[in-house]
Structures are given as C-alpha cells and as structure tokens.
C-alpha cells in the first residue's frame, strides 16, 4: 500500500517532486525573511543603545520606536 502511494501509478516521481519543490521553496523564503528580520532587529538594538541621552529621550517618546522595542522585549 505504501509503495502504491509512493509510485502513484508511475506518476510518483513527478507528483512528489512538484510538492517537494513547493515545500522547499516555502521553507527557504521563510528562513531568508526570518534571517533578514533578525539582522535588522539586531542592528536596531545596537543603534538604539548608542544614542545620546537627548536622542534616546526623543526616540523613546515615539510610538513606533516604543512598539519596535516592545517587540524586541527591550525596556525603554
């Protein structure tokens, strides 16, 4: 029965390759975007920690910066 599922009446190689290509494509894109996101988050953390006190206060009062930092589990 398992060999029937794999062979699919002789079309198995085509069907499984098409599905495998799709799923590998999904995984690759997901991990590429994930890595890009982590890289930008890390860069943001570094830049934010290097701000002068005055600039830090200005940034800390902006909603979008608060939200990004909240997302990074960082404290303002």
């Amino acid at each position: 029965m398992i060999s029937d599922l794999i062979s699919m009446n002789g079309y198995g190689a085509y069907v499984w390759t098409a599905f495998a290509f799709t799923l590998i494509g999904f995984s690759c894109l997901y991990f590429i975007i994930k890595v890009q996101l982590k890289k930008e988050q890390k860069r943001f953390e570094e830049n934010f920690s290097m701000l002068t006190e005055e600039k830090y206060n200005v940034a800390s009062n902006q909603d979008i910066y608060k939200e990004i930092l909240k997302d990074l589990n960082a404290k303002i």
Binding site: L5, M8, N9, G10, Y11, G12, Y14, V15, T17, A18, F19, F21, T22, G25, F26, L29, Y30, I33, K34, Q36, L37, E40, Q41, R43, F44, N47, F48, L51, K55, V58, A59, D63, I64, Y65, E67, I68, K70, D71
Partner: protein, 235 residues
C-alpha cells in the same frame, strides 16, 4: 483613509498576528496536503499526475493576485505620495516571486507526463515567464538604486507597465491556441471541476494565501525596522 495604513498601527497588529497566521498556515497546509495527495480521486485521463494541479494552480492564482495588488498600490503611490504604500508593495513582492517560480516549475513537471515535454513557448507559459522577470526586476530596483526616490519611482513604473501582462496571462488560453486548457473555474459560471477535486484545490489556495500573508507580515516588519534604523541616525 491612510490612517489605516499608519506604520505604527500596522506594526502593532503585525507583531501579534504573525504567530496566529503561522499556526493557521501549518494547520490548513496539513489538511490540504492530506486531501491533495491521498484523499482526492485521480483524474480519468491524467491519472495521478493531476495532483500537481493542487500546487500549480494556487501558486499561479496568487502570483497574479499579488502582482495586480502591487500594480494598484503603485498607482496609489504616484497619486498620493504615501511612502508606507511603498513598504507594503515591497513586502508583497518576495512571496509573489516565489509563487510565480513554483507555478512555472510545477507546470513544467506536470507538462512532461501530460504533454510529453518539459517546456513549450506557448502564450500562457511565456507570459508567466515574463511575470517572473517583472518580479525580479521589481525587487532588483530596490537593490540597484541607492537613491530612494529613484528606486521607488522605477519600481512603480515596472509594476504599472507590468500589469499589462496580467490580462494577457489570464486570457492567453482564449486568445491563442495553446497547450493549456481553458479555465475550468469561473466566478460567473458553474465550475467544470468536481467538488472532490475543487475542495482540496480551495484548501491549498487558502494555505498558499496564508503563507504569502505571513511572509508579507515578516517582510513588512523588516522593512519598517530598516527605515526606522535610518531614522535613528537622523534624530
């Protein structure tokens, strides 16, 4: 209206939504794969090779849908000069490009047992290849041009002019003699596909749509943080 496209608002919703969308995607994809690979019947003519339809067709539909959306957003960018719309359309493009590639590759794999060839320069396949090139050009403009205004303008022009290709892809099977069969699913008429095949097709389409939404959410956050990183330097 643009209050809804406020980056802060989108980022706030986006961060909470990613996990839910990821969970829904895995769930719907698992059901779709079981239906498509094991439960749906084989075709009387194409036998089991018809199962390739469950990845090929949703990928083609979504790639066309995403490009149409990017073209519409690009028109809005020219009309309203809203920079957040650029972030949205830029974040939509990677999944659109992947789905076009999947449609082409799985179509090629399906073509071998069905038509006896991996590739044919027929109208539908060639216009899909042009769509892939347009996606690549669209994404490359952001890398090639360092000037933000220039890259935004050129990418929008590519999307707007590239939109001409969308009706060509859709109606190519009606306008020219191609290897592709005419559309089996029509919004205004009764579907030519039996419900036992239509159900897995719709489930897989939902799974693919969820995946592109997930990638959009992640990419939007990435692009927004990138912009805010530059903003920190200008403070």
């Amino acid at each position: 209206m643009f209050e809804y496209f406020n980056p802060y608002r989108i980022f706030k919703i986006n961060s909470n939504l990613q996990k839910i969308v990821f969970f829904c995607f895995i769930l719907v994809l698992s059901i779709g794969l079981i239906e498509a690979l094991f439960l749906s019947p084989e075709d009387y003519l194409q036998k089991d090779s018809v199962r390739i339809m469950y990845v090929h067709v949703p990928a083609a539909w979504i790639s066309l849908g995403i490009f149409s959306l990017i073209a519409l957003l690009s028109v809005s960018i020219f009309l309203f000069k809203n920079k957040n719309l650029i972030l949205i359309s830029k974040s939509l493009a990677p999944s659109g490009m992947l789905f076009t590639l999947i449609a082409l590759v799985t179509g090629s794999i399906w073509g071998k047992p069905t038509w006896g060839t991996w590739w044919a320069w027929d109208a539908r396949i060639t216009s899909m290849l042009i769509l892939l090139i347009l996606y690549i050009l669209y994404l490359l403009t952001f890398r090639i041009f360092e000037n933000e205004d220039k890259s935004n303008k050129i990418s929008s022009i590519i999307a707007i002019f590239g939109a001409i290709n969308i009706p060509i892809i859709k109606f190519s099977v009606d306008w020219w003699n191609t290897l592709h069969q005419p559309a089996s699913i029509n919004l205004t008429e009764k579907s030519a596909i039996h419900s036992s095949m239509l159900t897995p097709l719709m489930i897989m389409t939902a799974a693919f749509a969820l995946f592109s939404f997930l990638i959009f959410l992640m990419k939007y956050n990435t692009e927004l943080i990138k912009v805010k990183n530059k903003g920190l330097k200008r403070l």
